[in-house]
Amino acid sequence: MNWYTAIVLALFFGLLVYAERDLPDSSDASSPARTHVAPTYIEQSYEDTRTPNIVTSVLADYRGYDTLGETVVILTAGLAVILILPRSDRRR
């Protein structure tokens, strides 16, 4: 391992450890992630979309534009591979 790799890794790990103290604990019911936006999804999902699976309703409806983006990402990868590795159309 190079010395600079070691320094980068130490800084990176140190930052993660440093940040740990102020991350909300998973058993803390008043943490922002549990009180701010997410409960709305759970409470509204069935009323808004008739879909019991909340992950699906968030994925395809509330944050549907993200999913469009990720579909485009997959398509981009397909086009990228077509561009980088064109198939030969010659038959053997």
Binding site: M1, N2, T5, V8, L9, F12, F13, L16, V17, E20, R21, L23, D25, S26, S27, D28, A29, A33, R34, V37, A38, P39, Y41, I42, E43, S45, Y46, P52, N53, I54, V55, V58, L59, R63, D66, T67, G69, E70, V73, I74, T76, A77, G78, A80, V81, I84, L85
Partner: protein
């Protein structure tokens, strides 16, 4: 705060992240760099999924026996984000493999030092 009891997964995640980062910047073999990238991204997925956990709750699929009490289901949003991130990771891996195949066809190796040598020879 019950610091370590609930959070030891965080340290495992941090360790995995560091391993992945080491693979990406420390390894000389291009395929190993790619593997490092996958470890790194998977560790990020773990980080999010761990953040979504609420002890004593169930999966975010509404159950008529439980009702729509937000406190009874785990947080669905990180799962959605990670589904997106997984797809992005797969797509990146696909493009990276295509690049590696091109590189291998051209230089016959995936070792960075060998490739650099052969580049010098050809120019």
């Amino acid at each position: 705060m019950s610091a370590l009891a609930g959070n030891y997964t965080y340290y495992i995640t941090a360790f995995l992240l560091a391993i992945g980062l080491y693979g990406m910047i420390g390894k000389k073999n291009l395929l190993k760099k790619l593997i490092g990238m996958n470890i790194f991204q998977t560790a990020i997925f773990l980080f999010f999924i761990h953040g979504a956990v609420k002890p004593g709750t169930t999966v975010p699929v509404l159950d008529s026996r439980i009702g729509m009490d937000a406190a009874a289901y785990i947080n669905p949003l990180p799962h959605v984000l990670i589904l997106t991130a997984i797809v992005v990771s797969v797509a990146t891996t696909g493009v990276a493999l295509a690049l590696l195949i091109t590189i291998y066809r051209r230089y016959g190796s995936l070792e960075e030092t060998t490739i650099l040598e052969r580049m010098k020879q050809s120019s």
